[in-house]
Subunit: 249 residues, 4 copies
Amino acid sequence: MAGMDPLALDELVTANRILAREGIVDAFGHVSVRHPGHPDRFCLSRARAPECIEASDVMQFALDGTPIEPAGRKPYAERFIHGAVYDARPDVRAVVHNHSPGVIPFGVTGVPLRPIMHMCASMGTEIPVWDSRTSFGDTNLLVTNAAMARDLASALGPRSVALMRGHGCVVAGASLREVVFNAIYLELNAVLQQRAGALGEIRFLSDGEVRAVLDTRTSFTFERAWEYWCQRAGRPYDERPMEGPLART
Amino acid sequence: MAGMDPLALDELVTANRILAREGIVDAFGHVSVRHPGHPDRFCLSRARAPECIEASDVMQFALDGTPIEPAGRKPYAERFIHGAVYDARPDVRAVVHNHSPGVIPFGVTGVPLRPIMHMCASMGTEIPVWDSRTSFGDTNLLVTNAAMARDLASALGPRSVALMRGHGCVVAGASLREVVFNAIYLELNAVLQQRAGALGEIRFLSDGEVRAVLDTRTSFTFERAWEYWCQRAGRPYDERPMEGPLART
Amino acid sequence: MAGMDPLALDELVTANRILAREGIVDAFGHVSVRHPGHPDRFCLSRARAPECIEASDVMQFALDGTPIEPAGRKPYAERFIHGAVYDARPDVRAVVHNHSPGVIPFGVTGVPLRPIMHMCASMGTEIPVWDSRTSFGDTNLLVTNAAMARDLASALGPRSVALMRGHGCVVAGASLREVVFNAIYLELNAVLQQRAGALGEIRFLSDGEVRAVLDTRTSFTFERAWEYWCQRAGRPYDERPMEGPLART
Amino acid sequence: MAGMDPLALDELVTANRILAREGIVDAFGHVSVRHPGHPDRFCLSRARAPECIEASDVMQFALDGTPIEPAGRKPYAERFIHGAVYDARPDVRAVVHNHSPGVIPFGVTGVPLRPIMHMCASMGTEIPVWDSRTSFGDTNLLVTNAAMARDLASALGPRSVALMRGHGCVVAGASLREVVFNAIYLELNAVLQQRAGALGEIRFLSDGEVRAVLDTRTSFTFERAWEYWCQRAGRPYDERPMEGPLART
């Protein structure tokens, strides 16, 4: 793809395959990365199941969702989610939108999702639930235009995660490896919180503990997980230190 | 098979393999398609586990369940389900009967199954539960004659799904790809509704939201999922636009 | 093995592999068959995980658990379970003992396991729970002698299934294919009954429905499932009609 | 690795792969063994996901966590857990630290984990929950120094298992094969106890039954399970009797 390093492209393909292998996406859901050289663009596959995506499927989009050199490829209807988050959040370099099964029950009941173990602290202490019906009424729930996407990005605010009622969630991160990590451990947190809540009252991580996890976490945590997920997804692991906007924090 | 396009045959084999791979059927359960050239016939495998089915297993049946050119092959005892639905519903071109594990608990408790997320809206807003015992008393619960099948088809009415108490469900669609999609997301809805209901009161999709999903859904949704499921089932993905009665809506 | 048809031996190996593949046994649990030519003997592997068993592992035992031609092979400590059931039940030609995860919760809570769907009716309408502690006090719970095994067989009585508190269950059948079928669908029933009970009051199969399933079931039901499970376990499917004591009912 | 038998090294790699295959560890969690020839050292991989570990990743550590011949390899931040347990417990020859999903809910709710079936009796009758916050306040919950590790080892006391609130657990054993067995059946016990508790009041193993299991258990139990887990993990099974500190009890 013009202007994008082949290794960065491969990394986006790998992110798709990992999310599929780990059950975070099925035929639906998507992951994007802010363009390393053009911060006003993002890279996202054409509309295709993440498990099937190849490097040639990756397209570039302006932040308003307009495809750049589409070459006849059909984009995801919900690409606006990604653009609106990149637009509102200069710190975000990667975005996942998914409907993983553990997360859905929290979005439709209003039970607050909170960090239950250290690995899941990246989701933060407060996770909002965005309901498309509040501002947009009866729709097909898909975020298919800039107005809905801006409303969702506004609910996300400065956080890493927002749930979407009857739909799924959006997860933001400072790198692809971080956002994939966050999406996978968000799902695990949801599953564990449901189980623990059925047993009794949960002692969640304190706000201070969450802050301590976030303050001491290094990119090595993401690397260790990435190598493992690459192996499970049958993808080569690229351990090169990366430079530029895609570098691991 | 006489009078059936090899590609349409392959598609029916693929539908069987996908339903097995995704856990919708085990050794039992079946999927049929209305004959593309003869709307008064349907195509269904001989009595065999869906995971094992080959093109040569596919038989043709009249809508009353009579096999056409059986050639010594043993038909499913419950083929009457398919015939009765095709007979009552000219709009239906594919039928699944299955016992997927998420669905059974709803059929035996009377808790209404309702759409919990956008992907599952195809099941509709009201899902009836048919109990063979109401009209037929103590049986082995199998729908092995035209009278039982007509009674079930009547409970289904104009809907996409009916549950069968202590047995499973029947799912109807306008194409094979749609009916497979509906059966898989029905199972997901059941699993998610059970989990969410254990957390608290569920805010289901509104009737308006369900209508909006159904009104805006295009065949591309089924295609994207079909490619993914083909890959998981180890089957080639046929992306040819299909003509005639099997065409995607 | 002396006096045993190679095909019958293969079938016992396949039964072990299927039970492992379907999650009914892990490293522990075992399945036996009454010797086709010597009804006062049964065939059972040496003490080994079912997933690893080969034909050369199969030993013969007298009904009191004495190994015949052990050739240095170590028998299962709990082989007495099998002998006692064959001794008490001339109609039984195959026995499974396992600890499958869905079943354990029913054995330790006393919640009666009852048939929730037609596929699971083979377990019967009443499933007793045997507690080794009642007659034998504090033991390691293993059934390692004839007295305990006779007590368990007596609790089983004329039924297909008995649960063992804090341990697992014993399943009896008229053939290997039937007993494997019964063990797999017993586990499924337990999982589904747990889920349904969490939703609301369950409408179980009536006694008349269970009788109707048992009265109308033919060996073809077991064959269809057996072919499927063979394929999943990577074992050849032998569709030969079998003669003698191993014949399918 | 200097001073370590290649077969013992292979056994540690296999232990890592088994724990990954059985879902006890994901990218995180680790298993160590006391050095066979130097009881004041332990062997543990460099910081890497267990599924990816090779023999060349294994490092040696003094009991205070100091790496011996690190050769540029990055150690696990939590290696102190292992050292403190070996220091406090001369009987322990292998340690697992993990965050398996069934265990987490018990650590955060205070519901006591108790043996529900004979296979799980190795966990003992009383399992303490250690909370890092009690003595160390708001941390990132990682046990990254000797003071925290000693506190945890003290909570473990003479037992096989201690839970860690919002984090996971530590499991100790007399051999690698025993500790892997204990970690796997601890997870199973947690899953089954959660399910059984949802059904009704649980009749746990009595203290006398737990003692009887522990008193009569032989190393053969671990061998039978190890062969099975090796096969599932794609690792060769070494059935040689081992000599020295690694010998099976």
